[in-house]
Symmetry: C2
Subunit: 792 residues, 2 copies
């Protein structure tokens, strides 16, 4: 946990005043810069102290054997792990031969600021060396959204009292020493010295290093160049070693003068092109960046972000903390996906090595639905990446004895890297999550070319999988047995409701898309008999229901199981998976993360309002939220069934997941899906957005304390603005086509350029609040409304 | 498979005429000698060629880390593996400087014979060296039943044509090079050079080696001494190196003369005593063996086995192959358990390194029931070993969050070594299997001291476990959720019928034993409230039943699952676990090994005859017998429900499991439980024995072709002889107390020294034969009776 939150609450930036070394690693994650291609953790310029040094390139990974004491058929033998690539962030400073290190001397002031609109990380420090020489360091760091291979730093030093000799060493360091991994199985395996030096060059203020990886066969080139401004006599010198590039700037600087260094860094890598080609690529990118110049890069960055915020911004009045958090979230979602282009969006983006740098189902289930509304082209890129892995997914399904395609539970490059099949191979729902992301993207954007060229094939291959995985029983009901749903405290159960509902949707969507694109369907060998079989399976899909309790079991038999003994579970026993064996978790009623509740969100049409209310209350008392993916759907359904105050609490939890380090693992990277979840909790939760583009509905209602929620969503070729205040909501079609929506069930139509203001009906009687497992209640965002209205 | 079975069919020995190098490893397993403490595989005296060299000491193991790519709470971190100890079998021979190696020169004849009554392995070979010099080698090898630490070899060479110079090298070799392990995950991990040399000594014809193990901290001493008889001029010389002891005998031998060497080998080891103590132990054992002499050892061995066979022999007339096989089985069961004394009976005995040398549930569920009837003191020893591991089992239960004790799924020393929890930790039925072995031993022997001192504690701790593992539902039914039953093609299911029935028995037996031993119960803190809770859980135990199909599901939901597509499964796809992923096996109706059928055998009182018949037919069509543990209970229930011909087929399969290498892994050791299974298939199958000592029942009926089945069982302080012929059965109480038994339901009483002859009633109408999965039918032991009666 970030125990000493020193993040000032400002609407458009995240500012840390002071420097708490206890939470250095967490701060490195939240201050990470990325464009989806390059990722730089928010390490201090001078490299040390650090929590976890980190520089990443999306897709650059090493292979490692996956060991099994007892192996089994179909277990993957090789895993993929993100590696820490050449660090281009380093700028070390000597002040009269004493290294600038915040642990020594006197740190008089320190401030960092992540600017969501400028897209830069600023730092300002005043420090006196152990011998008493005070200086000011100001640095600004960026990873460019517009020049995908480029990052840059502007670094300025000035003496505050008397003349000093300054030596600035701007470095590239490969194979940095990393801290040893902890005992938590979720922590990424750290690979030592993954880079093999191939070439190093240095001339003027420019250095280049080229490395390859040992097993994954990748080639990686990094080059840096510098602009130096200093007093007369400033000297610049470059040198290189196999794992080190260094440009040394030496100057004697008097008060009133300063030494200014602009560092341009360009990265290039490839798994297929030659070393000269990759080297040329980074050199070219570097040349482009130098020509653009620092100010030019800043201006491009600002323009890119202005365009982003124009569509993506969410205004929340009445809660400055969440206002800041949601912009922080949107900024990091953009950073994770903006320029991934042909690569995955990892669970931790490029902010840390957590989860081995793998991408999971939550990219499609949480991140892409948001990107589809705020940066649709990034969503398309992410889905195109999945499509490039389709041949591997088809091969994997074949290996497992099934038709169609099964995408990997966790991967970087496309091969399955999960070594624990009950929570890996058995979690087939990822295929329906991917299919649903395709359907959602096509529906909201109307991108028919995408559907024909990419989407139909993905839908058809996943539909084939479901049809192959399931079977009809003697009563004609279609079952999916032995599946693991989203909740990781259950596994390998029959008829998981989430999986079955999502598979049903997948089957129907594939059949519908095949009907819309008959030529492409023929190319894919999808015939009428096959689509008829898909529709039949979908229509016969069995959804278990516990009539005695009046609730849906998460999966067959779930509600008959013993309820976990929450009263005997101590606070330090959470997360449960680190203190109890899977066998005992799996056979009890205890829910790590929303599963049936997620089904009610994603497939709400399959539940009556009464079922939703009963189910929600039932699962609230079982859900411990040991996953960052849980609070978001709980917020959404809490809002839908009328627990508005609770929805607000869960919104707070999901929005502060990383800023308050609620899962205790922000140190190895941010939870990108949870960041997306804060947008979902607002838009699908408080504003109640559901449905397809031609049947979009809203049911906005603000919890006490919030006075305004405004956001825009990309919708076909236009943009729909929604502005909710306590008594009414205004819907504005800013451009594009006329849109028919529903407001609290009432159909309204909005023409382009026009607005419709709709009063918000009085809410239903507030049902009695559900309870959570003892000690797992969310932090109350506001006092209960009953108390709040009592005069103080 | 032993593709060229050259085993002659003889009633009291296993003889192999000729030497097939293709099945060398399998022959080494079936010709292995052991006394339960020392195990020597049937390697050729000269060491090479070999399939798999092997010398084992029960309990001597090394530790190895159990790797997990994704770890989890409660996963064991360290495994135990049997190691190949110092080889004391080696006797190399040079004939005029050409090594005796059956691959070179001319092997004119070769014969091996395992004598079940003498307890020796004899070998006789005539060989001409490449230069044409013919000799005869005759060797006799034994591992002594009476002198537990001793093995011995008598080795004789004589020239057949002309004088030769013979050099005989009798060796001790530590850290033998072993063949690399194959890809089959069941093959034991082979550890290279597990022994660390500590001491080596040589004088006269005597050599000693002392080693320790690196991680498990064991000390191991081996010593050998020799008696040499040869023509005048025969010289003897001893030498030693850290990993080699050698006595070299040189002689020029003329036709009519021979060179004779008797080699005595003594082993000692300990995990706690000092090197000098262990060395002294092996030296003392060696001195005793030398004093006894070769003829003395032979005489002791014969006397021991005469006493064994007097009680244990099974006579089967009409099928010489099975007559031989069942004596082979009994001999190897004796070898596995006779002198284990404080150590486990491993799944492969001491005949090979298969399953890492681990002991599993089948020791208690298959082997001990047989030992209890034929060598009851060996059963008591095996249970006492389990009892020594009780503290580890209590600690393991605590680690997993439960009360009582949970014994390891696989182990050598007592710690859990299973790294795949769905088929390890979740297979809790092993605890009920152990408890039932305790109950059965106490019941049949009347050993009340054992029950009070050992048994009650084991029953109480396992009953505590079951009470802790289960829970009552809202209807008051007691459930055991998330358990893995015997069938390894299903896992982690609710209310596995076998597990629930066996747990019920465990709970009641514990409560009953506590009532019989109130003082001991108080010592164990077993009070009346606790035993009442055990009885309540037992009486409320839920046994699922599929009323629509009229069969018991193996576990809740099983009969609703999709039936495996047997028609699409090719012969080479078996065993299925090597060609299909667990996730797909677990969710289908496909049975690796008898599970519900085993429940009907072990807990027959819980099923009506009609249920047994329907269940048997239902599971026959699902059971592929990819486990050696399956045919035995299938034989038993086939006989009970009237499929006598099928019972005979399964008897044939289980009896020939290793002699015909039906599971394709006899090369790394025999299947001790399947060997026990052939006795069970005869006694519980064809003779229909069931019940407790005071309510023992038989329902003998011989399949066509068999003319007599006779056996004895130890019963309390007496021995009951059963002699079945086609029309009648004779029951003889050979000594002990009067016994009341039932014959086909009819009560009869037999006084000591008296016999009762009972006619066998006509059998019921033969029901139509059940079917098995395509290609998995057992080999028909005889033509169907309808055909057999047609004159030829």
């Amino acid at each position: 946990m970030i125990t000493h939150p020193d993040f000032a609450c400002e609407p458009w930036c995240l500012r840390a005043v002071g420097l708490d070394l206890e939470v250095l690693a967490q701060a490195e994650s939240v201050f990470a810069l990325s464009n989806g291609h390059i990722g730089w953790r928010g390490n201090l310029d001078e490299g040390e102290p650090h929590g976890l040094p980190g520089s990443y390139l999306n897709g650059v990974h090493e292979l490692r054997p996956l060991p099994y004491a007892e192996s089994g058929y179909g277990y993957p033998e090789s895993g993929q792990t993100v590696i820490n690539v050449t660090n281009g962030k380093l700028i070390r400073l000597l002040v009269d031969d004493e290294p600038f290190d915040v642990r020594y001397g006197e740190l008089r002031s320190h401030e960092r600021e992540l600017d969501f609109r400028a897209g830069v990380l600023r730092r300002r420090a005043e420090w006196a060396s152990p011998s008493g020489c005070p200086i000011r360091v100001v640095s600004t760091r960026m990873v460019s959204f517009t020049q995908r291979s480029v990052a840059a730093i502007c670094y300025e030093v000035e003496p505050l009292d008397g003349s000093v000799r300054l030596v600035v060493q701007s470095e590239l360091v490969a194979n940095e020493q990393l801290p040893p991994p902890g005992g938590d199985p979720r922590v990424a395996a750290v690979l030592e010295s993954p880079l093999v030096a191939q070439e190093n060059t240095a001339r003027d203020a420019r250095v280049g290093l080229v490395h390859t990886t040992m097993h994954s066969g990748l080639c990686l080139a990094v080059a840096m160049d510098h602009l130096v401004e200093g007093p007369p006599g400033t000297s610049v010198q470059a040198e290189s070693l196999p794992d080190l590039g260094r440009v040394t700037v030496t100057a004697v600087v008097k008060p009133g003068q300063r030494l200014r260094l602009v560092k341009f860094v360009a990265y290039g890598w490839s798994g297929s092109r030659s070393l000269p080609a990759v080297r040329a690529q980074s050199d070219a990118a570097l040349a482009g960046a130098v020509q653009t110049g620092w100010d030019g890069l800043l201006a491009e960055q600002r323009a890119y972000l202005d365009a982003f915020w124009a569509n993506a911004d969410v205004i929340l009045e009445g809660d400055t903390e969440i206002q800041q958090a949601v912009r922080f979230s949107l900024f990091h979602i953009l950073q994770a996906g903006a320029r991934a282009e042909g690569r995955a969006i990892p669970a931790k983006g490029l902010t840390g090595p957590g989860y081995d740098g793998h991408s999971f189902w939550d990219s499609e289930a949480y991140v892409l639905p948001v990107l589809t509304h705020v940066v649709p082209e990034a969503a398309a890129h992410a889905l195109r990446w999945r499509h490039t892995t389709l041949p591997l997914a088809i091969e994997r399904a074949r290996q497992l004895g099934h038709r169609g395609a099964t995408f990997p539970w966790r991967t970087i490059h496309g091969e399955e890297c999960s070594s624990y099949w009950p929570a890996g191979a058995a979690a087939f729902h990822i295929n329906a999550d991917i299919a649903d992301a395709v359907v959602h993207y096509v529906d909201m954007t109307g991108d028919e070319d995408f559907e024909r060229d990419i989407g139909l094939e993905m839908l058809a291959q996943t539909a084939r999988l479901w049809h192959s995985l399931g079977h009809h029983d003697s009563l004609g009901r279609f079952h999916l047995d032995g599946m693991t749903g989203p909740d990781e405290y259950s596994a390998v159960a029959d008829d998981n409701v989430y999986t079955n509902l999502m598979a049903r949707r997948n089957l129907l969507a594939a059949a519908d898309a095949a009907r819309r694109h008959p030529g492409r369907a023929r190319e894919l060998d999808v015939g009428e008999e096959e689509t008829a079989a898909w529709r039949d399976a979908a229509e016969s899909m069995h959804i278990p229901y516990d009539a005695a309790l009046g609730v849906h079991p998460q999966a067959e038999g779930f509600t008959r199981h013993q309820v976990w003994d929450f009263d005997a579970t101590k606070a330090e026993d959470y997360p449960l998976m680190l203190h109890f064996p899977y066998f005992d978790l799996y056979r009890r009623q205890v829910v790590k993360q929303a599963d049936l509740v997620l089904a009610m969100f994603r497939c709400g049409e399959s539940f009556t309002p009464e079922q939703k209310a009963r189910n929600f209350t039932y699962y609230e008392r079982l859900t411990v939220r040991d996953s960052s993916l849980s609070a978001c759907p709980q917020a959404v359904i809490a809002a839908e069934v009328g627990h508005l105050s609770l929805a607000y609490d869960y919104l707070g939890e999901v929005a502060l997941m990383d800023l308050a380090d609620l899962e205790h693992n922000t140190h190895d990277g941010l939870h990108i899906a949870a960041l997306a979840g804060s947008w979902i909790a607002l838009v699908a939760g408080l504003a109640g957005m559901r449905g397809r583009h031609d049947d979009l509905s809203f049911a906005p209602r603000l919890p006490e304390g919030l006075t305004r929620l405004a956001f825009r969503i990309a919708l076909r070729r236009g943009c729909l603005g929604v502005d909710v205040r306590p008594g009414s909501a205004v819907y504005t079609m800013e451009n594009g086509e006329p849109v028919s929506i529903r407001h609290h069930g009432r159909p309204i139509s909005v023409a382009p350029g026009a607005s419709a203001s709709c009063p918000i009906p009085a809410g239903p009687a507030v049902p009695s609040a559900p309870t959570q497992p003892r000690g797992r209640e969310p932090v109350r965002r506001r006092p209960p409304s009953g108390l709040a209205t009592v005069p103080g």
